[in-house]
C-alpha cells in the first residue's frame, strides 16, 4: 500500500468545466489526487471519464478550470506527465515497428531538431522489455494483437520517465494475461512513487486494482481513498438504476477485493 503524503499533491483540478455543443460533459470538477497512488476514474458511459483526462492534457478545450501537476501549471510540467491513449485512437496500419512507436515517447525530450539515436533506441528497447515485448521490437505494428498494441502504448509512456501517468482504459479489449501484466507494471510504477490515473470501466476489479478512486458522472460523485468511495450509496448515485445488479453481488465483490 502506498503511503499517503498529504503535503504532496500530484494532480489538482479546480473548477473544471467542459461542454460539447452546449451540453455540459464535465461540470465544476474540483479534485486533488495525492502523489504515489494508483487512482481509478470510474463512472457510467458518457460520464466524461476520457474527456476529463483529455481536458487535463489540453486535448479538449475547457470552458474554465485550472490544472496543477505537482503544484505547478500543467503547461510547464509536460515532461513530468505521461499519457497512454485508447488503443483505438490511432490507425495501426501505419508503416512502422513496435520499437519505433516506443521511441516516439522520447520525441518531447529530444527537442525540435535532434533525432533519436542509439541511446534512444536502447531506452525504447528497455521499455519494451519491461512490458514483455522485447522479442517483438521489430514487428510491424499492424501485426500485433490488441493486447500487444496496448503494451506498446504503455512502453511508449514508460520511456517518458514521467511522474504522473494518465491511462485511458488500458484494460479495454485485452485478454486476462495482458490485463494481469499491465496491472503488475502499474503497481511497480506506483511502488516506485509514481502517480497513476487510470480510466477504468470494470467495477468488479476496481477495489482490487486501485487505492484511490474518483466516481464520476459529469460531476464528481465521490473521490478519496478507494475503501471510502466504493460504497453502494455512491455507486447508486453515479450509475442510477443500472446498479441494481451489483447489489446482489456486493458481499461477493468485497470479499474478492480483499485478495491483494
Amino acid at each position: 500500500m502506498a503511503i499517503f503524503n498529504p503535503t504532496d499533491t500530484a494532480l489538482s483540478i479546480k473548477n473544471l468545466t467542459v461542454s460539447y455543443h452546449n451540453q455540459p460533459v464535465l461540470w465544476d470538477i474540483d479534485l486533488d489526487i495525492p502523489a504515489g497512488v494508483m487512482a481509478g476514474i470510474v463512472g457510467p458511459n458518457g460520464a466524461g471519464k476520457s474527456t476529463l483526462i483529455k481536458s487535463l492534457l489540453g486535448l479538449v478545450p475547457s470552458l474554465s478550470g485550472e490544472v496543477m501537476v505537482h503544484g505547478r501549471p500543467y503547461a510547464t510540467q509536460r515532461k513530468r506527465v505521461g499519457y497512454v491513449p485508447q488503443r483505438s485512437s490511432v490507425d495501426w496500419d501505419f508503416p512502422t515497428t513496435a520499437l519505433d512507436v516506443v521511441t516516439m515517447g522520447l520525441y518531447g525530450r529530444l527537442g525540435w531538431l535532434k533525432r533519436p539515436g542509439q541511446k534512444e533506441r536502447h531506452e525504447a528497447q528497455e521499455a519494451l522489455e519491461m512490458v514483455g515485448m522485447s522479442a517483438l521490437a521489430e514487428r510491424q505494428i499492424s501485426q500485433l494483437s490488441g493486447g500487444q498494441q496496448q503494451r506498446v502504448f504503455l512502453a511508449r509512456a514508460l520511456v517518458q520517465q514521467a511522474d504522473v501517468y494518465f491511462l485511458d482504459e488500458p484494460m479495454a479489449g485485452v485478454d486476462a494475461t495482458t490485463e494481469r501484466a499491465i496491472i503488475d507494471i502499474l503497481r511497480r510504477l506506483r511502488d516506485a512513487g509514481k502517480t497513476l490515473i487510470v480510466v477504468h470501466h470494470d467495477l468488479q476489479t476496481v477495489r482490487t486494482y486501485f487505492d484511490w478512486l474518483l466516481l464520476l458522472n459529469v460531476r464528481v460523485i465521490a473521490s478519496g481513498k478507494a475503501e471510502e468511495v466504493f460504497k453502494i450509496d455512491h455507486l447508486r448515485q453515479a450509475y442510477g438504476g443500472q446498479i441494481a445488479l451489483l447489489n446482489d453481488n456486493e458481499s461477493l465483490m468485497f470479499s474478492a477485493s480483499k485478495v491483494k
Binding site: 492534457l57 516516439m104 520525441y107
Partner: protein, 368 residues
Amino acid sequence: MVWLELLSDYTFQNVVIGASLLGLISGPLGCFAVLRRQSLLGDAISHAALPGICLSFIITGSRDIGGIIMGSLITGSAAALIMLVLTRLSRLKTDAALGACLSIFFAVGIVLLTYIQSTNNASQGGLEAFLFGQAAATLRSDLWVMGSITLVTLVLLAVFWKQAKLVTFDAEYARTLGMPITVIEASLTAMVALAVVVGLQMVGVILMAAMIVAPAAAARQWSRHLGGMLTIAAGVGIVSGVSGATISTLSRGLATGPLIVLTATVIVLISLALAPGRGLLWGVIKHYRQKSALQKQQLLYALYKHSADPSCAPSTLGSRRMLNKLKQQGYLSRSPRGTTPGDDGWGLTAQGQAEARRVVAAFEELAS
C-alpha cells in the same frame, strides 16, 4: 539513334525533368496525405487552384509563372482552410465539406476562365491548358521554380521528420509532448498545396489528385517503414512521370498529363496485386495453401480417430481430390472395397499413421 535524338530534344528534356520533379514532391507528400486520411484534400486544393490562376491573370494580365503560383497557392490554401473550419465549427463531415469546397472553388474558376475568354485578350490563349496540363509548354525557367519548391519542401520534411511522423501517427499524443500540432498539420497541408503548384503545368488541376494518391498507395504496399514508403513513393512518382512523358513524346500528340497518371495507376494496380505480404495475389495463395493444409490435417485426423467407423468416410468431391493427393504423397492407401456399403476402403499407411499422430498431438496441445 531515335533515343539519342530524343534525349537531346529541348522540349523532351524539359518535360522529363518537370515530370521527375513532380514525382519527387508529390510522392512523399502524398504519403502523409494518405496516412492522415486526407487523400482528397489534394483534390480539393488542386481544383481550387483554378480560380487563383484566373485571378492572377486578370490582375497581372499575363501568364507569368510567379503570379500563377501565388494565385493558386492562395486560393488552394483558402479552400483547405475553409474546409477545416467547416468541419470544426459545423456538424458537416469531412467528405461533405471537401466536396462542397472542391466544387464551389472549381465552379468559380470555370466562371472566371470563361469570363477571360470572352474578353478576347490576345495573351489569354492556353489558360485552359491548366485544366489538363500542357507539359510541352514547360520552360527552363519554370523548371527552376519547380525545382526550388521541391527542394525547399523536401528539406523541410527532412528537418521536421520526427514531428511530421508523430503528428501523422498520433496527433493527440504529439500534443501532450508539447508539439504545436496545429502548426505542423497546417504545414503538411500547405506542402500539399506546393506539390499541386508544381503539378499545375504538367498534369493540370483536375488530374493532380491522382499524383498525390497513386504513388503513396503503391508505396504503402511495398514498405514497412515510413521512410521507405516515402522513398518508394518518390520513385514511383518519378518513374511514372518519366515514362508518361516518354510515351507521350514517342506517340506524338497524346496528352502527357493523363499518360503520367495512367502509368502511375498501372503501378498501383501491380502493387495492389503483387506486393509481398499485402498483395491480393499473395492473400489468395496463402488462403488456398492454408485451406489445403487444414483439409489434409482434418482428413488424417478423421481417418486416424474414426478408422473403425466407415460411415465417417468422406465422399464429397473436394475431399476425394484431397484423398487422392494424400495417396500420391504416400499417406494413404486404398484397399479393395469393403463389405459394408459406404466403406471406400481408404486406410492410413505407416507414414500416414505417423503424420496423423503428429496432427492429433498438435491439435490436442492446442485444445488444452
